[in-house]
């Protein structure tokens, strides 16, 4: 395989922890009263290559750094050290409908969200019909998004993300949306995306999703990759390693 789609080298990310939530001039001016700033090491040196067409699931307990890793890939954070590079267009699904504005209609939001994801107006207009079709919201597409239910919002968000002709799909625990029929449709769409050579990087706590979609699985613990391999064996090791916590996490 030629150059990897995702290349991560010695990736580290630290966050500053402050005990008072309020950011104000007072805390900046009263420097002698400033609390000790704690550093939270979320990722402690990740090395990873992902080839075109791979579908990688990330497992791990809460706070292991899964979402941070995805956010770094989506270019929302800058690494503290090291680098991560994604070649091609990324469609980040860190949260469905993150860019929706409640007062605009579904159609207006499709246009806006598509542009946020890096499409041109023309590309979106060519895809609008398929997005509306996929979301099954034809009757409500001209109503403001604030009148939508959360399920409808999720459907619209997913429909946009899978129709932006991305090379890499980055998904954070949002596969479990919608009703049964819509989930089946999403799975079929993801399958088609993979067959067309797309790469998927996702976080999930649902064993079924991982077995259905993933070709490779990572186990992340305390900001480090502890296991990387075939989904079934990684899942079994993970389950054995945290038997008691799994129930609570699901």
């Amino acid at each position: 395989m030629n150059a990897p789609v995702i290349e991560i080298r010695n990736l580290r990310k630290e966050f500053l922890l402050s005990h008072s939530g309020a950011a104000s001039v007072k805390t900046a001016v009263l420097w002698w009263k400033r609390q000790e700033v704690q550093k939270l090491h979320v990722l402690r040196g990740i090395d990873l290559d992902i080839a075109r067409g791979e579908s990688v699931a990330v497992l791990g307990r809460n706070g292991a750094g899964k979402s941070t890793l995805l956010s770094l890939l989506a270019n929302v954070y800058k690494p503290t050290q090291g680098y991560c590079e994604v070649r091609g267009r990324v469609a980040p699904l860190l949260e469905l409908g993150a860019g929706f504005h409640p007062d605009l209609t579904g159609l207006e939001n499709i246009l806006f969200n598509g542009i946020v994801l890096g499409l041109t107006r023309k590309e979106i207009e060519a895809n609008v019909e398929r997005i509306v079709e996929f979301s099954e919201l034809r009757a409500q597409i001209d109503s403001p998004v604030r009148t939508y239910s959360s399920g409808m919002m999720a459907r619209l968000g997913f429909a946009i993300a899978v129709h932006v002709d991305a090379d890499v799909l980055i998904v954070d625990e949002v596969l479990a949306v919608g009703d049964y029929d819509f989930r089946r449709k999403c799975e079929a769409r993801i399958q088609a995306f993979r067959e067309a050579g797309g790469t998927i990087f996702f976080v999930s706590h649902t064993a079924q999703d991982i077995l259905n979609v993933a070709t490779r699985c990572l186990w992340l613990q305390h900001g480090e990759i502890v296991m990387d391999g075939e989904p079934l064996s990684v899942m079994e090791a993970y389950r054995a390693g945290s038997e008691s916590d799994l129930g609570a996490e699901r």
């Binding site: 966050f15 950011a23 104000s24 001039v25 929302v76 860190l94 860019g99 605009l104 107006r121």
Partner: protein
């Protein structure tokens, strides 16, 4: 900075559609819609004119137009900065989930306000036309109006620089917007909006005081808009009438350089801080 500008250019389509969205949302749920932005300055000028003409017996002809010519750019600056300052902290849900150049958020607020300002200037010229039609003695339109684009560019540079600067600072210290709203409210009294810049000069004829006063780029801009859009106006102070002063292009040149500096500084500060917006403690 060049790399950042390139990146911004790559996302220009996002900027335009954000501006479009901003304009659309602002009036989507109101009955009078777009007319609010035009009605607001007209009502303000009506009140100011009544106060000055009737209560304070100011005899300046066409006083409303002089107020409007300085009030509109002042309000553009005021609204842009206050709007821009809150854009980043108001969009954390968005910037935590998707990447795009963060400067697009404050720039959207500034450009949307700039479009309102241009429309309000259109209303200003209609106002002049109406005054002329009611009292057709001499045309209120000036040939120096041709300098308007130059003033707009300087005004935009200054506003964009301040907007970027304060939007970045307000993300970390929310006090910034409260301090700003007080300062911007006080500044209207230190700008020639409700009086003439000649009032600053006469009768002491203190050139230093006059220059220092106009070192404030906002005061200079208010003065410049008046000088190029409207006829020179003699000022009455007590019993004496003093002649109008000419437009001071040297001071304006200084203001243009100052605006450019503010823009550069504001953008630099913004770029230094922008990756910390999503992870502020």
């Amino acid at each position: 900075m060049l790399a950042e500008l390139k990146e911004l250019w790559r996302f220009r389509e996002l900027l335009w559609s954000m501006v479009e969205r901003e304009l659309r949302i602002r009036y989507k749920n109101s009955f009078l819609g777009f007319f609010w932005s035009l009605l607001n300055p007209l009502i303000t000028v009506l009140v100011i004119t009544v106060v000055f003409k009737v209560y304070l017996r100011n005899g300046t002809p066409n006083f409303g137009a002089y107020v409007l010519a300085a009030y509109l750019p002042y309000m553009f600056l005021n609204a842009s900065i206050l709007d821009a300052a809150q854009t980043i902290s108001g969009s954390t849900h968005l910037i935590k989930k998707v990447y795009f150049p963060r400067e697009i958020l404050p720039l959207t607020a500034i450009i949307a306000n700039f479009i309102h300002f241009l429309l309000a200037l259109g209303v200003f010229f209609l106002y002049l036309l109406a005054v002329y039609l009611l009292n057709p003695q001499e045309s209120p339109f000036q040939i120096t109006t041709l300098y308007l684009p130059l003033l707009l560019v300087v005004n935009l540079m200054l506003t964009a620089g301040l907007g970027l600067l304060f939007s970045a600072l307000n993300t970390f210290y929310e006090d910034v917007k409260y301090i700003l709203s007080v300062l911007l409210w006080l500044m209207i009294f230190l700008c020639p909006v409700m009086y003439f810049s000649e009032n600053v000069y006469y009768p002491s004829e203190n050139a230093l005081h006059y220059t220092l006063y106009h070192m404030n780029p906002v005061a200079m801009l208010c003065m410049a808009y008046r000088k190029i859009l409207l006829a020179p106006q003699d000022v009455v102070l007590g019993e004496t009438t003093y002649p109008a002063l000419p437009m001071d292009w040297a001071l304006f040149g200084y203001t243009a350089l100052f605006g450019l500096f503010i823009l550069w500084m504001g953008y630099s500060v913004f770029n230094r801080l922008k990756w910390r917006f999503v992870e502020r403690p």
